[in-house]
């Protein structure tokens, strides 16, 4: 399972109002001290959310706390974990330049709520995540593959995808 510890207390760099709003939505904050990683690689405060609260959390951050810029939106495959995938999104407050990383977990074949209605920049990012991991995004306006051909067989960034010799796709 995860090597990261989780606590209910937000890191000191997170503003109190933000920490309070996210904690009210059931967020648990990542405690990177347990990993032993150098702090400079773990400078971004990160929180884990329930999937049901995913969109709500971003809506609150955007509308009430000024986190109006979606920097990144992707996923990680942990084949040993249940649920298997961790969806990650990074938002920034473009005025104060505070950055927050939020994650949620989805199982194989399970849909993740889409952030595209909130952030236009989530559109292609979610299509990429769908293309590479096969995670469907519920509420996305046009969820099709973005890099691979539409009839490509498989999800290339899943850990069980073969490193080489994938020749199932033939024209």
């Amino acid at each position: 399972m995860s090597s990261i510890g989780y606590t209910n207390d937000a890191p000191p760099t997170v503003k109190t109002a933000v920490a309070y709003a996210l904690s009210a939505l059931g967020a648990r904050w990542c405690d990177y001290a347990a990993t032993g990683a150098a702090p400079r690689f773990r400078a971004t405060p990160a929180a884990l959310l329930e999937k049901a609260r995913w969109v709500e959390a971003f809506a609150t951050l955007k509308k009430e706390h000024g986190f109006d810029l979606l920097l990144d939106h992707s996923a990680v495959d942990y084949p040993d974990r249940t649920p298997r995938f961790t969806v990650v999104a990074v938002v920034e407050n473009s005025t104060t330049h505070d950055v927050l990383l939020l994650k949620t977990r989805v199982a194989d074949g399970e849909a993740c709520p889409s952030l595209t209605p909130l952030f236009r920049s989530a559109d292609w990012a979610e299509r990429e995540t769908y293309d590479m991991f096969g995670i469907p995004f519920e509420g996305h306006p046009e969820l099709t593959r973005i890099y691979m051909p539409q009839d490509y067989d498989g999800w290339p960034l899943r850990k069980d995808f073969p490193m080489e010799g994938h020749l199932k796709f033939r024209d």
Partner: protein
């Protein structure tokens, strides 16, 4: 008519070009025209495309061999030069370009990526364009130097020169070619005989080699 390839089959009946005439086969004349007027369709997909540009520019100058008219319409080209890394998504485009080219057409896989996927042994990259279309020549190199490209183009000229599709079509009886056009030697047979005999030797009975497969000739190698 100083070209060595054409003269192999061409006999001047009078010994001079003035007021005389030439004896040859339609096939060798057509081949001679085709090989000196190759219109490439460069499909530049990465760094190999830059090397192809160098080959076409004045320092290396492809136009010395009648190949400078690069066309970006497959309808106007007869040599598809795939230069660079081909992804599966782009492979659909390449296949379509190839399908749109009129016969006769030739294909060169330029560089390691087009030939075998190169160093990209991963999910989006086609492991050699011959997964999709027949290839006449493979150029090694990453990317190949313009010298190697020119060498390959010269090899291609030799291949075009050896083409015997007209004769094979005639032999098969489904000739799209006017039969009278093939041999124009009646009356002056004596002088033309050696060249004709030489030409006949090359037209061995049998099926045409599979399209795009070079038989009996090793791949182009870099010196």
């Amino acid at each position: 008519m100083a070209d060595s390839a054409a003269t192999a089959d061409v006999v001047s009946a009078t010994g001079s070009t003035e007021g005389g005439f030439l004896l040859s086969t339609l096939q060798s004349m057509v081949n001679w025209c085709r090989k000196n007027s190759v219109w490439p369709l460069p499909l530049g997909l990465s760094c190999c495309g830059i090397e192809f540009m160098a080959t076409a520019c004045s320092r290396y100058d492809m136009s010395r061999f009648g190949m400078e008219v690069a066309r970006f319409s497959p309808r106007q080209a007869d040599l598809l030069l795939v230069a660079g890394t081909l992804t599966y998504k782009m492979a659909q485009v390449m296949t379509r370009l190839y399908d749109q080219m009129a016969e006769p057409r030739w294909v060169i896989a330029m560089g390691a990526c087009a030939s075998s996927g190169g160093m990209f042994r991963s999910y989006p990259v086609v492991q050699g364009i011959d997964e999709f279309i027949p290839v006449d020549f493979y150029i090694p190199g990453c990317p190949p130097r313009p010298d190697a490209v020119l060498n390959c183009l010269l090899q291609l000229q030799k291949k075009i020169e050896r083409d015997r599709s007209y004769r094979l079509a005639l032999d098969a009886g489904d000739a799209p070619v006017a039969k009278g056009g093939l041999v124009a030697v009646s009356g002056r047979g004596e002088m033309a005989a050696p060249a004709l005999a030489q030409a006949a030797d090359r037209y061995v009975e049998g099926a045409r080699p599979k399209a795009g497969v070079e038989t009996g000739t090793p791949p182009v190698r870099q010196r």
